[in-house]
């Protein structure tokens, strides 16, 4: 009997050591997944893709029924908006032409703009059941040109960044799971000088992104001002919509101000995403995460 007890204790100890080793291995700042993890991720990703199709149909149908109810009201509103936009389109076209001309004069090509990016369409195939991690899996991977730290957006705005790409699938960290190690350099566009700062993570209690303003500017930030990525971090392209300011509060020491930002994109109803590959490459260590913060 005592031998049996000892054996159990022994197994438990070995299990515990194994746990510590495995956690240590995966917490290490690793660049790539191991080959086994990639194979498992791709195989499960394939199965998820198949299973996801019928489920999408069901959720789409229920969603459509809800949409029907609001269609009439929306339609009237949209018609009014459309009239406004017509004017805006002409204006935008004119500005674009003018911009191109000026760029030509400066001998800058479109490629040099930080705004410019290549986009890769992808479908969300699963969401991690572990809610503390806020991860989703998409059906495109390294074979489609996806690399670590690329920004992931939807039509409404930014949703996250690529965390670990496998061959044919990739894990995406959502904005709601960002912490101080995943910063985005952001700005508020103003005439004259922009207000720059950094998204420093997601506050789970208030359910807002935290935008710390770096340079103390005299201008007050108002509610509903749009925060976009600045492209200065070296990883994400510029002008990706991040969110709208909800509230501005002074930080703990009263030296800087912090804005609470509501993400533009819906983090719960994500089906189609676009992975964004910045056209301008920063050759100096483009993979480093710290760079995004500085």
């Amino acid at each position: 009997m005592s031998f049996l007890r000892k054996k159990r204790l022994f197994i438990l100890l070995i299990g515990f050591i194994l746990l510590v080793v495995l956690i240590g291995f995966s917490l290490r700042d690793r660049e790539e997944l191991t080959i086994i993890e990639e194979i498992v991720n791709d195989t499960v990703g394939l199965a998820q893709g198949i299973i996801h199709a019928p489920i999408n149909v069901v959720t789409d149908i229920t969603g459509n029924i809800g949409d029907f109810k609001d269609t009439y009201k929306e339609n009237r509103l949209l018609k009014e908006k459309l009239a406004e936009y017509k004017g805006l389109i002409y204006e935008a076209q004119e500005l674009k032409e003018e911009n191109d001309e000026l760029r030509n004069n400066l001998e800058l090509t479109e490629k040099d703009s930080m705004r410019n990016y290549k986009s890769i369409q992808a479908t969300v195939i699963s969401r991690s059941p572990e809610r503390w991690l806020e991860q989703i899996t998409i059906n495109k991977g390294k074979n489609d040109g996806i690399k670590k730290n690329m920004a992931v957006i939807t039509a409404e705005g930014m949703v996250g960044k690529v965390m670990t790409p496998s061959e044919n699938s990739a894990t995406v960290q959502l904005l709601t799971g960002f912490d101080q190690f995943n910063r985005i350099s952001g700005k508020i566009n103003r005439k004259g000088d922009n207000i720059v700062g950094m998204i420093e993570g997601y506050d789970k209690e208030s359910k807002h992104l935290i935008f710390r303003i770096i340079e103390e500017s005299k201008k007050d930030i108002k509610k509903d001002e749009l925060i976009v990525s600045s492209g200065m971090g070296g990883v994400f392209p510029a002008e990706l919509h991040i969110g709208k300011v909800q509230e501005v509060v002074p930080d703990k020491y009263g030296l800087t101000k912090t804005a609470l930002v509501k993400p533009s994109a819906d983090m719960y109803e994500i089906n189609q995403v676009i992975v964004v590959d910045r056209a301008v490459q920063t050759d100096a260590n483009p993979e480093s995460e710290e760079e995004e913060g500085e």
Partner: protein, 179 residues
Amino acid sequence: MKRFYLPLILLLILVLEGVALELLPESLLKTDLLIASHWVFVFLIFIAVFYDNDRTHFSVLYALIFGLLIDMVYTDLLGVYMFSYACTIYLIYGLKKLLHGNILVVALLGVVGLVVSDMLIYLIYTVVGITDTAWSDYFTSRLLPTVGSNLVFLLLLYPFFAKKLTDWGKDQITKGNTF
């Protein structure tokens, strides 16, 4: 052939877990409640109670394998689910020898197992620094809804698998393969 049924079912459940959250209404997702699905674990309880006899440890073996798979696919942090699931299933395996396997006992073992495994996961994640939820918040916003929703899943599965797994379990005795 029959020995491949269990891993296949477990793999299917593992894949389904990834879309589980989309089946919940959006209004439930946006609240503070963090419902985590432990469907693989629920099925492992069935294996422990109905399939395994005194000499086989299939449930613990599958807990190790599929715990690791969950870690790889859904969390990228290896070992956490593997350790929690395997430990808890071993505990369930020990407990089921004391009790006769009917629906009430399975539900009871399910609640005990879910509480223990989810708390182990919470404990490890807190130590590692993935989450910094306070204990009282964790209890109301994660533990209770998680145990509740997975218990519903367990009760739904019971009529389909209780008898079948017992039959499969008897088959393996007659063939005499042990682990």
